[in-house]
């Protein structure tokens, strides 16, 4: 094997340094530069990570849907879209989980409870389970082609459910505070100055983190596929080698393995 197995590409050091640096700056902005909230105090600082993780979760699921559509469309069908969809969905589930946990940590001091049956909480929880199901489906199908096709369908069908879940739960109940950046859909931020800077910076920092992890995860998925193929090639070669000496005398001793039992 000539190349060393690594998920590193020319892009990863750049993205990695940028992501790490911007997260460090976010910590400074969020914890020191931005003032404590007049009503919520320091608990409000969680917004600088909570809102970006929620946004990136939606971005990730959007990427999964787009990649799945590209896979299903015959002209653009390629394994890399399947890998992108899978990688992005994993990150989306991680970000959704983070959003839920951060929201609960924030809810305890501000609302007095970890969980309320508020519309956004419930629809985020449903979203979490929707894509947990998608990831579970990915794990159980063995054949790569069948997996790619079924999972692409599953991703699109799940994505189509998001607006219906959103509106139905919205009608059911609503207690969550309105969107901070876009109240009522207009770009008219209710916060100003350092707080807004910290929030927008958080978006950038988490977007870079997402991009970095996505590149790494896609590479890993490609290598996993390569490994499967390689294991198959080795197995075929071994069976061929077994079949070849049939004509040779049985007395030929099988060479003892050089290394210990650890390697097969």
């Amino acid at each position: 094997m000539k190349e060393t197995a690594t998920t590193r590409t020319w892009l990863t050091p750049v993205l990695g340094v940028l992501a790490l640096g911007s997260l460090a700056v976010l910590a400074v902005l969020g914890l020191w530069v931005a003032p404590p909230d007049a009503v919520q105090g320091d608990a409000q600082r969680l917004m600088y990570v909570h809102v970006p993780t929620a946004t990136l979760a939606y971005v990730a699921f959007g990427v999964t849907s787009l990649a799945s559509a590209l896979y299903l469309w015959r002209r653009t069908r390629a394994p890399r879209w399947d890998r992108l969809a899978a990688s992005s969905a994993e990150l989306g589930v991680v970000f959704t989980g983070l959003t839920l946990v951060l929201g609960m940590l924030w809810g305890r001091p501000v609302w007095g409870v970890y969980w309320t049956w508020d519309a956004r909480l419930v629809s985020t929880a449903v979203l979490f389970f929707l894509y947990l199901g998608y990831l579970a489906l990915r794990r159980v199908i063995v054949d790569p082609d069948a997996r790619a096709r079924r999972c692409a369908v599953a991703a699109l069908v799940a994505f189509a459910d998001i607006p219906i879940v959103h509106y139905s739960v919205e009608w059911w109940r609503s207690l969550h505070q309105d969107s901070t950046l876009l109240p009522g859909g207009r770009l008219d931020p209710e916060i100003s100055g350092d707080m807004l800077v910290a929030l927008l910076w958080g978006m950038v920092a988490f977007a870079l983190t997402y991009a970095y992890l996505l590149v790494r995860r896609c590479r890993l998925a490609a290598m996993e596929e390569g490994l499967e193929q390689r294991v198959l090639d080795v197995a075929v070669a071994e069976r061929r080698a077994e079949a070849a000496p049939v004509a040779a005398p049985v007395a030929t001793p099988v060479p003892a393995p050089v290394t210990g039992g650890g390697r097969a």
């Binding site: 389970f129 489906l137 159980v140 082609d145 699109l156 069908v157 009608w171």
Partner: protein, 225 residues
């Protein structure tokens, strides 16, 4: 067009004929759903008057659990004896196969809901109001459940772990149906049918969208090896 409708009826008829001979829904799924109604009474003390108030929610939870079994069963019969290959080799349009499967599931669910509703009125002491609204919302919810269920049944078909995978895949997707059907039934039973309209619309949108998705997606799902 007539041939298409004929294909749909053919597949639905096949599934209902299998059900008529094997009696899995009538002998296993229906008693299970009835048992769930009984268990709810154990969990929520029937003496406190709680059961009639939460009856719509309990009813739809029972229907949802039964629907999981019905969908699982509808696609298990295709996994045996190379039935899936038979379907693929037949000249039937995949969209017709999908609609036929969904119609078969829906027909079984409607029968199940009718019996369960009777159980609800008898066991939980619920008074029936606005029967037309109950029927309308049940019909839309059933269409949604059957449409989404058939998509996910096909997605999980043939997998060894489908019994455990299907609930995880299907339940979050049909959460809006569960919500809509429960609220609509509450509105009907409380005698305020105007409250039900948003939910009727949600369920109609859900049913239409998933039927369309199933019609589009079933071809790619069926053609694979």
């Amino acid at each position: 067009m007539r041939r298409f409708a004929g294909s749909v009826l053919l597949v639905a008829g096949k599934d209902l004929r299998i059900e008529g001979r094997s009696r899995v829904t009538t002998n296993q799924v229906l008693p299970f759903a009835g048992l769930v109604l009984l268990l709810f009474a154990f969990a929520l003390d029937p003496d406190r008057g709680l059961l009639p108030r939460v009856a719509p929610g309990l009813f739809w939870v029972a229907v949802l659990l039964a629907a999981l079994l019905a969908v699982s069963r509808a696609f298990a019969v295709e996994a045996e004896n190379g039935a899936r290959d038979g379907l693929r080799l037949s000249v039937l349009d995949p969209a017709a196969v999908y609609l036929g499967k969904a119609a078969g599931v829906a027909a079984q669910l409607v029968a199940l809901e009718a019996v369960l509703a009777a159980g609800l009125f008898v066991l939980y002491d619920v008074d029936a109001h606005q029967v037309w609204l109950l029927a309308l919302s049940a019909g839309l919810a059933t269409a949604g459940l059957a449409a989404a269920g058939s998509v996910y049944g096909a997605l999980a078909a043939g997998l060894r772990v489908r019994e455990t995978l299907l609930p995880l895949l299907l339940l979050p997707v049909v959460a809006p149906v569960m919500l809509g059907a429960t609220r609509a039934w509450e509105a009907a039973l409380n005698g305020v049918p105007s409250d039900a309209w948003p939910w009727v619309q949600v369920m109609a949108a859900f049913a239409v969208m998933y039927t369309a998705l199933g019609v589009i997606a079933f071809g790619p799902l069926l053609e694979e090896s």
